[in-house]
């Protein structure tokens, strides 16, 4: 985790901060979901507790903590208690491996009478070279928490919900895995940071020369993966809805058939932990879509140079330098401060993209009705899988000629 005390402690704080970012986004998303559904259905939604109903989240969290604990007497107590804890882990680990911004470069400095640095801190919990494979492997562990919850509850509805959840997750994992193969062919790397780096520059078609009129017009657009893999984007986007058990694919918790699915017997904070897991999965999925198809933390090279590097970063660094000068002088010349500010500005851009996709998750949930189970399985196996295969082969075929 690092070579000296400073590096280890910064890495640990970063890890905890990214996990808490994920956990604290969940109540915000629940608020967005409730207010958003109210907006879509022409209602008010929670608007009494605090401004715009924002304190409702804190009230809910406290209420959940003070609920009576219920463990079904006929069920398996150990499985029942361990399932919500396992639900937290896959989302947190997968989210930690995605780079949320540019790495922070810290040049050597002096503190407490000794020399420190130079350091490079990547803006993620841990760096792992096999990014995609790791995220796919870890996030599919989420099926275990649902299965354990279903088996531990000693309730038919829970069991059927768990079975449906696992069957649907594994079915859509095929289409998802194949949609990602197209991305791998285009970028030729497993690493998220290298993928984002490959999406820099203006869009251009290799068939024409660089200064051809077609490439000049296309050059306005950023070089994002969605222009190379439109079908793959749609396939991945649809399959993450099934992976996260969201409407229109929320058969595992279909309340008209199964009461509440695998968490029928859960209540209070333990049920909330399943929600944290589900929203964590949604955040991972949104971050993956942003990295694969929408340039990650970059707004496109033109906007990055003019707007971010040219305007926002210098002005914000000057502002922070004037604040920090109250405690000590010389912050204007500090490149470390500029690097930190730049990393957080790009982090803001990335979070904006993630929140946009999370809003689409909410929007779809309150717009489309639920599928029937056989329709869901047919869509996964007989429609999405052949389309994903065709997408892979056509991408490979085009790469033969376009490279």
């Amino acid at each position: 985790m690092g070579s000296d005390v400073f590096e280890i402690s910064v890495n640990f704080v970063k890890m905890v901060a990214i996990f808490l970012l994920m956990v604290n986004l969940v109540p915000m998303l629940v608020w967005v979901e409730r207010r958003g559904s109210a907006f879509i259905q022409n209602r008010f939604g929670p608007n009494r507790v605090g401004p715009l109903g924002l304190i409702q989240l804190a009230a809910d969290a406290i209420k959940f903590l003070f609920k009576e604990e219920f463990i079904p007497p006929k069920g398996n107590k150990a499985l029942f208690l361990i399932a919500p804890i396992i639900a937290l882990i896959p989302g947190a680990i997968a989210f930690g491996s995605i780079p949320l911004s540019v790495p922070i470069e810290i040049s050597a400095f002096e503190m407490f009478g000794s020399q420190w640095g130079p350091y490079v801190f990547p803006f993620q919990s841990f760096e792992i070279g096999i990014g995609i494979v790791f995220v796919l492997g870890v996030s599919s562990l989420g099926a275990y928490s649902m299965l354990l919850a279903g088996f531990g509850s000693a309730n038919k509805y829970s069991l059927y919900g768990a079975l449906r959840a696992s069957a649907q997750m594994i079915s859509y994992e095929l289409a998802m895995g194949l949609a990602i193969v197209g991305i791998l062919i285009v970028y030729g790397t497993f690493d998220f940071a290298e993928m984002i780096a490959a999406q820099q520059g203006p869009l251009s078609i290799p068939l024409f020369e660089a200064d051809h009129v077609v490439n000049k017009i296309l050059g306005i657009l950023p070089n994002w993966g969605v222009f190379y893999q439109p079908v793959g984007f749609i396939l991945l986007f649809v399959s993450v809805f099934a992976e996260t058990n969201r409407l229109p694919f929320d058969l595992p918790e279909a309340e008209s058939e199964l009461v509440a699915g695998y968490h029928t017997e859960y209540g209070g904070i333990k049920m909330n932990m399943f929600y944290i897991g589900e929203y964590g999965h949604m955040m991972v999925a949104s971050a993956l879509i942003a990295v694969f198809y929408f340039g990650g933390y970059s707004l496109g090279t033109t906007l990055d140079t003019i707007l971010v590097e040219g305007t926002i970063v210098p002005n914000m660094s000057a502002l922070f330098a004037s604040l920090l000068n109250l405690f000590g002088s010389g912050w204007e010349q500090s490149t470390n401060l500029i690097n930190v500010v730049r990393a957080f500005v790009f982090h803001g851009i990335f979070m904006a993209k993630i929140l946009l996709f999370l809003w689409i998750f909410v929007w779809v949930r309150w717009t489309l009705p639920r599928f029937r189970y056989d329709q869901l399985m047919d869509l996964g196996w007989k429609t999405m899988l052949p389309w994903a295969l065709a997408n892979t082969i056509i991408t490979a075929f085009l790469m033969l000629f376009l490279r």
Partner: protein, 123 residues
């Protein structure tokens, strides 16, 4: 091993966080007497019919078996996709494309056979 250390630390941290929440909620919550009706599983108010060994439709096992077969085929495509552009740059594009075309052909054959044999029909 060094690259695994942060993952283990994060997993342990999240697990402690989860256990902590469950324990705190168990300590804070009220303790009330359990009536007989409260002990039965939630089943729309009727007396429970559940057994220890609940029967599961065989379709779910079949889906899991088919998933294993196809998922392993998809996993084989990952290293191929990763090195695809390198092969093209080395002038072996036709070879690597043909090799995968045969593999995908078998994949499609398996999928068609599976659909024809009604392994994916839900009733």
């Amino acid at each position: 091993m060094t690259s695994l250390t942060p993952i283990i630390v994060l997993t342990v941290f999240v697990a402690i966080f989860g256990v902590g929440i469950v324990v705190v909620s168990a300590l804070l919550g009220p303790k009330r007497n359990w009536t007989k009706a409260k002990k039965i599983p939630y089943e729309s108010g009727l007396p429970g019919q559940e057994r220890k060994e609940t029967k599961i439709p065989v379709k779910f096992y079949l889906t899991a078996i088919l998933f294993i077969v196809f998922d392993i085929e998809v996993v084989f495509m990952y290293p191929w996709a990763l090195t695809y552009t390198e092969f093209i740059d080395a002038g072996l594009g036709g070879y690597i494309f043909g090799a995968m075309a045969v593999f995908v052909g078998l994949f499609i054959f398996g999928l068609i056979w599976e659909i024809k044999s009604k392994a994916l029909e839900w009733d």
